[in-house]
Symmetry: C2
Subunit: 165 residues, 2 copies
């Protein structure tokens, strides 16, 4: 029954990768936010802290790249975390343009705490979508989010003979 999704305009809704990914992102945001509710962190902030921990004390630019995020967007997103004392930003000694982000002890602690709730949510996710689909999703999204994908997407249709020059 579902709303005649096939008149003559169904193509956009059921084919647009961007729409589909964003829709899923909104849904997962709700679910994961609920899962770690009360921890004082949003799911997005959790991801951000985890990435910072993973990279050590990254400069903003590399961190933004790792997250496929705009530099200034990253800067904005860090503000609540700075305000709450979960991360610090300090200038690099060698290059004074560079500012490095790192977890404070409180940030590291918070991250570990929330990680338990996250793990439960993640297991719930995998159980529901199935191990195979979960793995496939990771693989495909990882490909899509990669810088190589972006470069290829933007490339002006590489000629099959001499793309150089």
């Amino acid at each position: 029954m579902e709303q005649q999704v096939d008149g003559q305009h169904g193509g956009v809704w059921d084919a647009c990768a961007n729409s589909a990914v964003r829709r899923a992102a909104r849904r997962l945001g709700q679910l994961y936010d609920d899962a770690i509710e009360g921890s004082g962190l949003r799911a997005t902030q959790f991801s951000l802290l985890a990435q910072i921990r993973l990279l050590g004390a990254p400069a903003l630019q590399p961190l933004a790249s790792a997250l496929a995020m705009d530099l200034s967007a990253l800067g904005h997103s860090l503000k609540p975390l700075l305000r709450d004392g979960l991360v610090t930003i300090e200038p690099d000694d060698r290059d004074r343009r560079v500012r490095r982000v790192s977890l404070t002890p409180a940030g590291a602690r918070r991250l570990e705490d929330v990680e338990r709730a996250w793990r439960a949510a993640q297991q719930r996710f995998e159980a529901l979508v199935g191990a195979d689909d979960a793995a496939a999703l990771q693989r495909i999204l990882s490909k899509v989010a990669s810088p190589e994908f972006a470069a290829a997407f933007r490339a002006p249709a590489p000629a099959e003979d001499a793309p150089s020059e």
Copy 2:
């Protein structure tokens, strides 16, 4: 080489479905926005207009549900489109609480124009990720974004015998 992603904290980055989907969403947002650049629409607005056209003249709540979006978020997102005269909101005759959104002639025209650029981007996307993966992605994301998935995710671990009661 890629940044030792396997120390002892790699689990979050390479397993979190929410992080992965959001990262991909940011990337695709950039790519699709670029693809329809100059049309006067963002990719998100394009999706929104397409969904409105698909549903006819939906009330806000059903439209929000179809997009897995919060009702108030939808309201906010509609404002720029209202301001630019691409959609109108009018009260329902039967139920005066209900307000229905519909495309204006300008909105319908704009949508059709942008659709060409969108189609090119979508084809580019499918060519790059491959038809199989593109289909798998749609299928999995569609499952994840469904209301059933959310309900199951939130369900308090359904007992295998008598979930009723």
